[in-house]
């Protein structure tokens, strides 16, 4: 289960995001993944074609007002993490991204949560929860990063 890297195997990335803006922001990060084996996980079946031929894993979307669905989301993400066995997990939010990081951390993967550029004044709940769990939590706004004690390393635009 632990992703001990063999020299023959390329670095494996699991890129996890919800739909809508979270997904569009993930797509803009793809140049940084060059040279790695990238698996995408998101919530809309039609998103798969946008990243083909990269492997695509579907999980049910949920937010904090849907506790039962969140359990399904966590279970599905646990299966995805167990199958992919990523070395690195990158998430652009939201709840599913936090859950994937939490699960992948147990397997020793290195994890980064990048909060949506939509959160220009406050850190999202998912990013706040990720703070104690992910190796790195980034806000895309310097003011938010200062207030909430996260990093600022630029934005998706």
């Amino acid at each position: 289960m632990f992703p001990r890297r063999s020299p023959r195997r390329p670095t494996r990335i699991l890129a996890v995001s919800s739909g809508g803006g979270h997904w569009v922001q993930m797509l803009r990060l793809r140049p940084a993944f060059a040279g790695a084996e990238v698996h995408f996980a998101s919530v809309a079946p039609s998103s798969a074609a946008m990243v083909a031929p990269a492997p695509f894993h579907l999980f049910p979307d949920a937010n904090k007002e849907q506790p039962l669905r969140l359990i399904l989301t966590a279970l599905r993400l646990a299966v995805i993490v167990a199958r992919v066995r990523p070395d690195v997990v990158i998430s652009t939010g939201a709840a599913g991204g936090y859950l994937a990081i939490r699960i992948a951390r147990l397997t020793g993967a290195r994890t980064m949560f990048i909060d949506s550029i939509a959160n220009a004044r406050e850190l999202s709940v998912s990013a706040r929860l990720s703070k104690g769990v992910a190796d790195r939590v980034l806000s895309q706004w310097p003011g938010v990063a200062r207030t909430h004690g996260t990093e600022f390393c630029g934005a998706v635009i």
Binding site: G19, G21, R28, G108, D135, R136, C153, I157
Partner: protein, 178 residues
Amino acid sequence: MIFATVGTQLPFDRLLSALDGWASANPDVPVIAQTGQTRTPFSHLQCQAHLDQDGFAAMMAQAKVIVAHAGMGTILSAAEAGKPLILMPRRAAFGEHRNDHQLATAAEMAVLSNVTVIEDAADLAPALQDALAGGETVQPRLPAIASAPLLDALKAFIWNEDSRPIRSSRAIGSGVRA
């Protein structure tokens, strides 16, 4: 053609009703709307509750003007397509979202050259007339990649095996990687 999108989750009837009113007064301009979860009929809009990625991309490509809530997916897609975008932020006070973060998003994204932000329904018609009168003006397209500093930070994190910070002692299995 005008393409309106309010995401696929919560209803945003304040914007769609305003657009429906505009469409009834301007029957020669087709208006296609991704309405999300709403029970309200809009008789002057061609409504679809949910478009898949291909359908959404096709509408973005065909539209002359986009009208939308202040969702980042739409904002980035419209900027990448170089299309004029009229944004009306959702307000928590009207039950349109869980919080008011779209106000901040819209205020910040107003710096993009293709974006016009409106506060309420009364501002929609003038904003639409302005955008449609823009004629052949093609907006510059936003490159579909993140800024260099963010990509560099991401690359450094992905490729530097030592980038696990001090906290790592708490993680189960961290010793395995040593």
